[in-house]
Symmetry: D2
């Protein structure tokens, strides 16, 4: 049974542009805010410090389809679900709505990585079991089929 | 014969994050900067004021695949081409490179719209011929085939 | 009797930098968010549309003193008061705290202006009485003395 | 004999707002870009890695007075000088101009600090001699008098 997490935001002045609407790039920072709020709600963080250093989640891809325009001070909802849960990566899906209007549909694929404290590139690792179990509860029905049908497409370490 | 436009940027401190790399959302603002610089190079602007008001280019979609990580003060190139030229919309493609490394591949689909000065929603219009001709020179070979095979998928007015 | 308005924010990932702390420029956007939330709480908006067009509040100055560092996911408070209420301008004061730690002290001076729909420069106007009365309740004791001692230093129209 | 460094920028779409002008917070990121470009021009960086770790320059204060409005695609200059050079801190001054119009006057006071790799607070240190000598060439006449008259007001370690 799929579930999702919903949060609310308001269009801030800094995120509008001279065309009078919320700038398309701002949807990506709002997606990330919603993802992080969702992870916190699960007792997780996107930037975990453990004995071996830091686990972070660099992005493999991000996309957004824009269906409507939002203006200064508009209140909107962001609905977060898990579209796909791989061995090393997860794809979050984000639906932006204002009342009954769909504003945008986006997604972010993040790869579970251990950061190199000496500045080398992040190294992908399997998602720790405790995290995978929590995220697993939010995989959508489509996501379950996609996950079964494919191998993990995250970047190789 | 396809052509493309190249510009150079440097990772600014504001665009890095606590993981030590350029934030994924910054690629979208750099794509837009490259798009606008490309349009200026063609003698165009993304925000044209004419007798009837303002023609602008709201986005129908944007996406980015991340292939590498960029750090503070890294210099990188953005290569812009036209992946698809429709009747009312255009898809720009952006390739980010640092030396011989590919950092990211992105795209933005923008819809030619007339803005409503009284605050109503933007209304899509056919791309003016003078603009379409200039952009047409930068359509890639794949873009030419895609353009011939499909109708315009831009949002209806 | 002075009063103030308090709101709460959390350090978002996009607002951190490669030094691991919230970027200094982000305090200014948080100040603005707090100002606008305060104005909404008073039943006002920073961008009011009336019969003659739009009243907006361009900034005459902004400053911030940084007393501490905030990190990703830190929760902090912003306390808003009115340091000075002039005929055409208002100075908001912002105190950032995390628990009992002061993080920053900032201020923004905004000038009440009518926007020119044809793209000319904003023109300063006296703050409408209904707005001045509401803001007047939040003038600090120091602000009251400053207001009595000086003329309005806002830009002339 | 005072000297200064000048760089050129253009108002990007993302930095405009629904009032049609460059957002006041964007001046601070442009100041920082100009500061970093100035430091690179001197062979320095704001984020130096040496044997003992990283030297960075957290900000003690930042301010900006706005004298004009800049619009999308306006080209402007930023003139950087050193208003004050202390033992542990430096104050950069920034003058924004568009043709002969002054747009803004800003300043940033940065404190020379060694970052704690284990996440503790930055610790202020005397500015290394090689850096102080290079910055010293750009101190304005007013800055020289201010520097002689005062002790370093940077935060104590």
């Amino acid at each position: 049974m799929a579930s999702h997490y919903t949060t609310t935001r308001r269009v801030e002045f800094r995120d509008t542009d001279t065309a009078g609407i919320m700038h398309f790039s701002a949807y990506f920072t709002y997606m990330e805010q919603a993802e992080h709020e969702f992870l916190r709600d699960l007792g997780l963080s996107v930037h975990l410090r453990d004995d071996e250093g830091v686990i972070s989640w660099p992005r493999a891809s991000a996309k957004c389809d824009y269906l409507g325009a939002a203006r200064f001070e508009d209140v909107f909802q962001i609905h977060v679900s898990v579209a796909r849960l791989g061995e090393k990566s997860v794809t979050f899906r984000f639906r932006f709505t204002r009342d009954d209007t769909q504003l945008a549909l986006g997604s972010i694929t993040a790869v579970c990585c251990r950061l190199d404290p000496s500045g080398g590139p992040p190294r992908s690792i399997p998602i720790p079991t405790a995290i995978a179990q929590k995220l697993g509860q939010f995989v959508t029905a489509e996501g379950k089929r996609a996950t079964e049908a494919t191998d993990d497409s995250g970047p190789s370490s």
